[in-house]
């Protein structure tokens, strides 16, 4: 029962990642997907994988994506030439 619910949530959050068009929202959706995946690993009695998944899937990967997005959005023109 618990595993069924988690699998359903995994499908819902995964669809959310695929359907979000804005990169920043997609990163947050990816984090939610990673969190559900962690819960599923816990329910399947795989705490070792769950540990790795919660840090890599909900902290490390979203953070790296956010850093890249922020770097891409930054105004890199020199101060004087800004309109």
């Amino acid at each position: 029962m618990l595993i069924d619910v988690l699998l359903l949530m995994l499908a819902v959050t995964g669809t959310g990642v695929a359907l979000s068009r804005q990169p920043v929202r997609q990163v947050i959706a990816l984090g939610a997907n990673g969190l559900v995946l962690t819960l599923l690993f816990m329910a399947l009695q795989a705490p070792d994988v769950a540990f790795a998944q919660i840090v890599v899937g909900t902290a490390a990967v979203p953070m790296l994506f956010l850093a890249v997005l922020a770097s891409m959005k930054m105004d890199r023109r020199p101060e004087g030439r800004r309109e």
């Binding site: 399947l44 705490p47 070792d48 540990f51 790795a52 840090v55 890599v56 902290a59 490390a60 953070m63 790296l64 850093a67 890249v68 922020a70 770097s71 959005k73 930054m74 105004d75 890199r76 023109r77 020199p78 101060e79 004087g80």
Partner: protein, 252 residues
């Protein structure tokens, strides 16, 4: 390629694969079924033969330690690649100004965020160390402990700001930590070969299952993996976050 062509292409590919999928699906093993006898054999033997309660650790750092050494060096190569690509002028100075995104102000961390980060940061670091040190007796291990420790470093960034974070997380130290960890793992593997024993022979006293000191050579390898993963992820975060600073040449 227009969206319509893409959907048509997907439809054709799906139609081609569908019969094969329906042919294979009924023959899949049932959910939760593990037909290979290897898992059962290791689960039965590890607590006695290796005095290890965490079978995953016994597999990763002993029975199939050779594979883990390969994975360790995949991580090392990935982090080295990121460093080669991203280490440059931008953000090298710890006092580098944050980059500006149009219409988004750069705010100092609020006091509540600093407080929560200081409390949680210490707890996360201790939890990471505990996860790593109890590799052979409780769930977790070097990799998990290492990434938890590295994510604790991110809380330092959240609470203390970029300058404070760079003051604590020294790039040279983290580079060294990662390389030292990977080297320790490799030495543990190849030391046996040098004296004529099989690769990664567990020569150290095994202790008793359930104790922190159980596992023999696994504990040394685990310490190496903790250093390598913690240092590696810290370098990764460092290199990516340096990219959010302005170019030193662009200072107006």
């Amino acid at each position: 390629m227009s969206p319509r062509v893409r959907v048509a292409l997907f439809g054709a590919a799906a139609l081609a694969v569908l019969p094969a999928l329906f042919h294979v699906l009924p023959h899949l093993p049932r959910f939760g079924d593990h037909p290979s006898p290897y898992g059962d054999a290791v689960t039965a033997s590890a607590p006695v033969a290796r005095q290890t309660q965490n079978i995953v650790t016994a597999l990763n750092f002993d029975y199939r330690g050779f594979d883990t050494l390969g994975e360790e060096f995949i991580l090392l190569c990935a982090v080295t690649g990121v460093t080669v690509l991203l280490r440059g002028a931008r953000g090298e100075e710890t006092s580098a100004r944050p980059g500006q995104v149009d219409g988004r102000p750069v705010l100092p961390p609020s006091e509540s965020v600093t407080l929560i980060s200081r409390v949680l940061g210490v707890m996360v670091l201790v939890f990471g160390l505990s996860t790593s040190l109890h590799a052979t007796s409780t769930p977790g291990g070097g990799f998990q402990g290492g990434v938890v420790i590295a994510s604790g470093f991110l809380l330092v960034l959240l609470g203390e700001g970029y300058r404070g974070w760079r003051g604590v997380i020294r790039s040279e130290f983290m580079d060294g930590l990662e390389a030292f960890g990977a080297m320790l793992f490799a030495v543990c593997g190849f030391a046996g070969l040098c004296v004529g024993m099989p690769f990664m022979t567990n020569v150290l006293p095994l202790g008793t299952a359930g104790s922190v000191w159980a596992g023999g050579l696994m504990l040394v390898i685990n310490a190496g993996v903790t250093c390598a993963v913690g240092g590696g992820f810290a370098v990764l975060f460092l290199e990516f976050l340096e990219e959010t600073r302005v170019d030193p040449g662009a200072e107006g």
